[in-house]
């Protein structure tokens, strides 16, 4: 008999349709049934390591991780029960004993980025467990300019290392040591600069607790930040990004959540970190024309383009078309590059057209 690929499952007594291959978490999420999790990232293979998403599956003696457990026809799942409540209460309390908190017994600390553990812990009445003072090593000598690791806020969910491996295929960071000494490390604990790291910062984005943060962003985010969705113009891919501004100053750039835009939660080193030019005093904010006095003078775009075209036509008239050359930028889209070569060939009559990424 061939098993149907579509069937129904029961979550908390409600019937939902599901497909073979889906996990409990996926079916629940699609139907608005909330299962908390810390180590899950839809871009990564499930790890089932944080144990936050444990649910009851009928016929299973043990609680099972919703992020990894595959649904089957007529499967009955409970996401809320006394057993699960106790599990969450004790597990979150244990995480608190292994995490820097606001004060003794307080909630997990939140720094530059959201700490999802803090949000989870706010939902329970925590057990006051003494701190376990796990000896997780930091990388004090890591002088890379962008990414900072704070082991006191790390829950070892391995999202960062799995992201670096499974999404970026860069493998710059790894779980190292073992047991309570387990930490996030580089080979030889070298600075990220001296590894295969491309400083894309995706590890920061996927970190659920703020153990990985941007070095140059404010450590404690001002409460009032405005978020503006825009398109990165460092290249033609068109990654979407969210600019976080405070008092009209750009303080951080993040990617929209995975699945939301074409870049699927990813950005590169330029998009995420290369924004210092925005408020830089040397930044050009309007066209400048060097007049006869040898000085640069502000001008309108119309004036500037007119001066440029006159200059180029002068060269063409005096020395011929091939005395001109056009170089386009890899920051341009393919359409813009097309227009550039059209300008070169059709408007000025030369094949001297190049694009900086072509060699």
């Amino acid at each position: 008999m061939i098993k149907s690929n579509s069937f129904t499952v029961e979550i908390n007594g409600q019937t939902y349709s599901a497909d073979a291959g889906e996990t409990v978490y996926e079916v629940a999420q699609r139907n608005g049934v909330e299962i908390p999790t810390l180590c899950h990232d839809p871009r990564l293979d499930p790890a089932g390591a944080c144990r936050v998403c444990l649910v009851e599956v009928e016929g299973q003696r043990r609680l099972q991780p919703g992020c990894a457990w595959k649904v089957d026809a007529d499967m009955k799942i409970q996401t809320e029960s006394d057993r699960i409540s106790r599990h969450r209460q004790v597990l979150y309390s244990m995480y608190m004993s292994d995490h820097r908190t606001d004060e003794e017994g307080g909630l997990p600390e939140e720094t530059g980025n959201v700490n999802q553990l803090r949000e989870l812990c706010a939902t329970i009445d925590p057990i006051p467990l003494e701190k376990v003072e796990a000896p997780r090593a930091a990388r004090p000598g890591d002088d890379n300019p962008y990414i900072e690791f704070d082991p006191e806020l790390c829950i070892l969910c391995a999202r960062c290392t799995r992201y670096c491996d499974e999404v970026e295929a860069v493998n710059a960071i790894t779980l190292a040591e073992r047991g309570s000494e387990t930490t996030i490390a580089t080979a030889g604990q070298r600075s990220l600069i001296d590894t295969s790291c491309e400083l894309c910062g995706g590890c920061i984005d996927t970190c659920p607790t703020g153990a990985l943060i941007e070095k140059k962003a404010p450590k404690l985010m001002p409460l009032e930040t405005k978020t503006t969705r825009t398109t990165c113009n460092f290249c033609g891919v068109g990654c979407q990004m969210d600019l976080h501004t405070h008092n009209n100053r750009l303080v951080k750039i993040t990617s929209p959540a995975p699945g939301e835009t074409l870049n699927d939660g990813n950005l590169c080193v330029k998009g995420r970190f290369a924004y210092d030019f925005v408020h830089h005093e040397d930044r050009l904010t309007e066209p400048l024309i060097r007049r006869e006095d040898g000085q640069l003078h502000p001008a309108t775009w119309d004036e500037a383009i007119k001066v440029a075209s006159e200059g180029m036509n002068r060269v063409k008239a005096k020395y011929g078309s091939d005395a001109l050359g056009f170089v386009s930028s890899s920051r341009c889209t393919i359409e813009e590059n097309y227009l550039m070569q059209k300008l070169s060939r059709a408007a000025f009559g030369t094949n001297n057209i190049h694009q900086c990424a072509a060699t």
């Binding site: 499930p46 089932g48 390591a49 944080c50 144990r51 444990l54 043990r62 609680l63 991780p65 990894a68 057993r83 106790r86 599990h87 004790v90 597990l91 309390s93 244990m94 995480y95 004993s97 292994d98 057990i127 006051p128 467990l129 003494e130 376990v132 003072e133 796990a134 829950i155 070892l156 391995a158 290392t161 491996d165 493998n171 710059a172 960071i173 790894t174 779980l175 190292a176 040591e177 073992r178 047991g179 309570s180 000494e181 387990t182 490390a185 580089t186 080979a187 030889g188 070298r190 590894t195 295969s196």
Partner: protein
């Protein structure tokens, strides 16, 4: 997903790191150059294993329960005073020679050895540690003649349960692998013995490795595997020599089936079947989520039949003399069983007794109690402690499970009344904290939390630190990924239950 070639290269990294003398920036770079595996992955994997994570030569002294009772702390202090750097390590599977020590070359050194023993030659015993070695491979020939189905039927009849600790009926795994569509299959022998109190596989490797190899060959033949992998713990130096000698003879007898030996590099968790597979694949020994089970997707994601040394060792006799014969050897459950006995007994060792023998019967074989016994741990650290009121309880899978304990690896340790039970609990908790792989929070945090709280109690005599131990223990059992975390609180829980006086304000 790694390519086939990348996967094979990855499988080499731990061995290469060992040849390099351990994990250093330079050794990692060289292994990276040779294999193409990313440097961070080599570093992270190497740093998981205690035999290679800290290069340098030193003496290793066991701090398992039996060795602590035999004065391992004092020995360590004495050697350090003589200028010998010492590292305290988890159980070395030499509990009968407590306090167990390995020299700088991982050779066993005995300081205060008692007389030890094994059951003397008895041809009626399936494993018969004290008996002659039979290198005829006649059982293998017989199994070939009988065919896979008949062999599995005999196995089923024998009632043989996996001797690694879980007690799962052995034939189920064989049938499950046979039922897989994938034709590339593997047999793995788990010789990563490291449960405190356990040293039976060691004796098989030393005295009857051929029986084990023959059992594995019968299994490989039956399930259609061309390769047998033996994962033997890296601290087993003599045992490895003995095994390699036996393999020299086995090679011709079982061709074209091939035997590969892989060395452990110092991680108790790699005795867990999926962690063992990870280690074989050149990764950190972190247990996988199950399902899928190894019989479906095991080594290299292919169907894999994994047996403990002792399970394999029982198979030739079962094939020879029949399932019914083996079954009847047991008292309360099927077959004979190797019981390890150490601690406060006169002649610690490995004794092959009917499955279901009691503590008193076992200690009889071991020359009687030393001093006045107050407690015993029936199946390794994971089984917790039982009081002497259980001295007549059949030591089998079911009876011990019903008593809230487990037979596990049958590593029985006897504690007399000179031992502080709270201290004994602390020693067991030190083991679990050190050996937790760190992958899941309940185990990683829980093992450290409990060890620290019991430490505080032992130091201060105040019960306040133990207030929430029960909650944490509950979560460790409910929430951990693998068996280690699930049982790591057992020593404390069982001691609090059976020896409440040891946990009062003092």
């Amino acid at each position: 997903m790694l390519t086939h070639e990348a996967q094979r290269q990855r499988e080499r990294i731990l061995e290469l790191l060992e040849h390099e003398g351990g994990v250093t920036e330079e050794s990692v770079r060289r292994v990276h150059k040779e294999t193409g595996v990313p440097e961070a992955d080599i570093w992270g994997t190497g740093m998981f294993y205690t035999l290679i994570n800290k290069p340098g030569r030193r003496v290793r002294i066991c701090d398992g329960l039996t060795c602590q009772m035999a004065g391992a702390d004092q020995l360590s202090a004495d050697l350090e005073a003589k200028g010998l750097p010492c590292e305290r390590v988890s159980c070395l599977a030499q509990c009968d020679r407590a306090p167990a020590t390995l020299d700088e070359d991982l050779e066993l050194v005995t300081y205060h050895g008692k007389e030890t023993g094994v059951t003397p030659d008895d041809p009626g015993l399936p494993m018969n540690l004290g008996g002659p070695v039979d290198e005829s491979y006649s059982s293998f020939a017989r199994a070939k003649e009988l065919g896979a189905e008949a062999v599995i039927e005999i196995l089923k009849e024998s009632g043989l349960q996996g001797r690694g600790g879980a007690g799962f009926p052995a034939h189920f795994k064989w049938s499950s692998v046979l039922a897989q569509a994938e034709a590339e299959r593997y047999v793995i022998c788990n010789a990563d013995e490291g449960e405190p109190g356990t040293f039976k596989d060691r004796e098989i490797l030393l005295r009857q490795p051929t029986k084990m190899l023959e059992g594995l060959a019968i299994a490989a033949q039956a399930i259609g595997a061309k390769d047998i992998y033996i994962y033997i713990r890296g601290e087993f130096t003599n045992e490895r020599r003995s095994l390699e000698k036996a393999i020299e003879i086995a090679k011709e007898k079982i061709a074209p089936i091939k035997i590969h030996v892989a060395l452990g590099h110092g991680a108790y968790i790699c005795g867990e079947e999926t962690a063992l597979i990870e280690a074989l694949e050149g990764k950190r020994g972190m247990p996988r989520l199950k399902p899928p089970y190894p019989t479906e997707k095991g080594f290299r994601n292919k169907p894999t039949l994994m047996h403990n040394v002792e399970t394999a060792c029982c198979i030739p006799a079962i094939v020879d003399r029949g399932g019914e014969w083996f079954k009847k050897l047991g008292k309360t459950e099927a077959g004979s069983k190797l019981y390890c006995i150490s601690g406060h007994v006169n002649r610690p060792g490995v004794y092959e007794l009917p499955l279901g023998a009691s503590l008193d019967e076992l200690v009889d074989a071991a020359g009687g109690y030393e001093g006045n016994p107050q407690a015993f741990s029936p199946g390794g650290a994971s089984s917790g402690f039982l009081p002497m009121t259980y001295r007549d309880l059949p030591l089998d899978y079911k009876n011990l499970a019903d008593a809230g304990s487990m037979l596990g690896s049958a590593g029985v340790v006897v504690l007399n009344d000179s031992v502080d039970m709270a201290e004994a609990v602390k020693w067991q908790l030190i083991f679990f904290e050190r050996e937790s792989c760190g992958q899941c929070a309940p185990c990683r945090i829980g093992t450290r939390y409990l060890r620290r709280q019991v430490d505080q109690y032992v130091q201060l005599g105040d019960t306040a630190p133990l207030t929430y131990a029960e909650d944490v223990a509950w979560e460790m059992e409910e929430g951990s990924i693998c068996g280690l975390g699930m049982v790591a609180a057992k020593p404390l829980e069982s001691a609090q239950k059976h020896f409440p006086d040891a946990f009062k304000v003092r």
